[in-house]
Amino acid sequence: MIRTPLRPLARILTARANGENPDVIERENLRQRHAEMQAASRQRAEGRLLVLGVFFLVAFTAIAVRMGALATSEAVEPVASTAGGSGIAMQRADIVDRKGRILATNFETHSLYAQPPQMVDPEGAVERLVEIFPDLDRDRLLEDFTGKRKFVWIKKKISPEQKQAVHDIGDPGLLFGPREMRLYPNGSLAAHVMGGAGFGKEGVTAAEVIGVAGVEKQFDDYLRDPANGGRPLQLSLDLTVQAASEQVLLGGMKLMNAKGATSVLMDVYTGEVISVVSLPDFDPNDRPRPPTSGFDPSVSPLFNRAVQGVYELGSTFKIFTAAQAVDLGLVNSETIIDTSGPMRIGRFPIGEFNNKNYGKLSVADIIVNSSNRGTGRLALQIGAERQQQFLRALGMFDPTPIEIVEASGGQPLKPKKWGELSTVTISYGHGLSTSPMHLAAGYAAIANGGRYVSPTILRQTGPQLGDRVMSEDAAAQARAMLRKVVTSGTASFGEVPGYQVGGKTGTADKPKPRGGYYESKVIATFAAMFPAHDPKYVLIVTLDEPSVIAHGEERRTAGWTAVPVAGEMIGRIAPLLGLRPQVEPDQITGITLTSN
């Protein structure tokens, strides 16, 4: 660029010669120069603005195009990056037993819906649908199909055969959607633990499967968490033991004319519940609706007696009193206690079963003969405060921590005012209502040498080392007493050769819903542990309103009802648990090979 001088000599001289002011020329030139500079800088700024504008235009266009593409295209599942890697995760993880056998899994099936505007022959379709599904309401369906509705659900789950049959109707308005359904291949086995599952949010192409009860509800988040990669939930239950327990208990319940029955089998070191049965039961594949009327929820098969049913469990509690008295050093199992009557706390007389009078008995014999007055006197020595502490340590005041959703409903009922009378009655199991699961945890503490174990439904890898609730020695003395109950006491039908059963019976009158007790309705309980010298398992069997005719008499006590059932059950399940009987096997007949 040629720079024009501000004062060009030629023009200045000319101007001076003409007598003009040369400064005018300089200012004129300066103005021109400024104008040029202004134009140049404007141009540069405009160029920059243009570049910036183009940049923003491109950026916004790119975002708009991408958003448009995302909004208008069909969503596609991302393809797994590694072939044969984690695989396709199921919507809901399986539930397996302690040996990996399936208790709950998923099954692909279809749902059936209709779009009436697309139907060719609604009347004919209704006729044929009712033939395939007899439970459909024909008039209702016809009204739906011929009315204004654009979408009608017909069936949530249909089998492949039914799907084919509907397909054969050939109506374009009948459509299928894929569904994943929860399948319990073992039917009613462990129904109360499983609970059941139902559909949550439903769409045409998929539906949420959510747990509605039992472990399905308790572990709903775990089971549905894709981060687990479909890893199954392993329970502590054993399928074969559970099946055998259910069979024996059902037979026992029928034989003893009982209205309901429950059993809990628990490992005393790990707290694993190996089998838990509550009868009557139901099929979780087709879970019945909860009762909407009626006073007593325990009539429904959905009611889990093992964890929800809080009952006064009667004399089974006596061993806690005896164990605590020994633990505190007040007595030992040979100390003589006077159990003769009469004994009165306030206005209430404390009596024995059938108004017997045992006289002076050792502590062990108090348990063997199940003396109310004997345990009552022990409890008075212990005192209300220490008794409460002990029972609280055994978990008798809170719902059991077992991981079934219903367990939180099993809140024990304890007296509002824990006076001297309560101390005495609770010492023999009246006035405090707990579930059989509570009792199992309490007996497990005696069985394992004095440590509390919290019952769990999940597979454990090692023993729980819970809080110590009583000394080793007290627990050992209590076990010896329980063994004696079976060898020479009220539970003689519970003897199973080879397994040295120890246990305590309990027969409690059933409370009326409006206060007071029934005359002839009882809850019979047998709490057992085996083998008694080194217990591995605790078994609780409870029968609701049993009654059996034996030796020409109607009998309801646990010794005649719950104990034989428990004995039979131990004989069936102990071999399945791999416990070797500690006797000579009877007459070896020679082993025959049935297969190689």
Binding site: V79, A83, T105, E108, N186, V583, I591, T594
Partner: protein, 118 residues
């Protein structure tokens, strides 16, 4: 000299273009195979879960009990009792002629499987 350089360069460009073209197609082919394999894996896994459910259903304790009762004449199966525990040394070794060798096993895992691959 310059001409030679131009020829070599253009030949190299041609060669590289051809190589890139081929690589592109091989990649697409591999991707396609991967997708197909993953579809197959998915189908097989669905099939596997169905088979597992079926296995569990056929082995449910109630059915086995009924079968044992139905076939009591032939098998004489009874529940395990404590008396049946024996010692290992009471069991005889099988004789050689008792051992059956499986030579003609039939693979059934993919029977009735859905065939939804090309």
């Amino acid at each position: 000299m310059k001409t030679l350089l131009y020829i070599v360069t253009s030949l190299a460009v041609l060669g590289l273009a051809f190589w890139a073209y081929r690589e592109n197609y091989t990649t697409q082919q591999v991707l396609k195979e991967t997708r197909s394999l993953q579809r197959q894996i998915g189908a097989q896994q669905a099939r596997l879960s169905v088979l597992r459910a079926e296995w569990a259903y056929l082995n449910r304790p109630q059915r086995l009990r009924e079968l044992a009762e139905l076939n009591f004449d032939r098998l004489s199966l009874l529940p395990l009792r404590p008396e049946q525990f024996g010692r290992v040394d009471e069991v005889a070794y099988p004789r050689d002629e008792d051992v059956i060798e499986f030579s003609n096993g039939v693979e059934v895992s993919s029977l009735n499987a859905r065939r939804d691959q090309p």
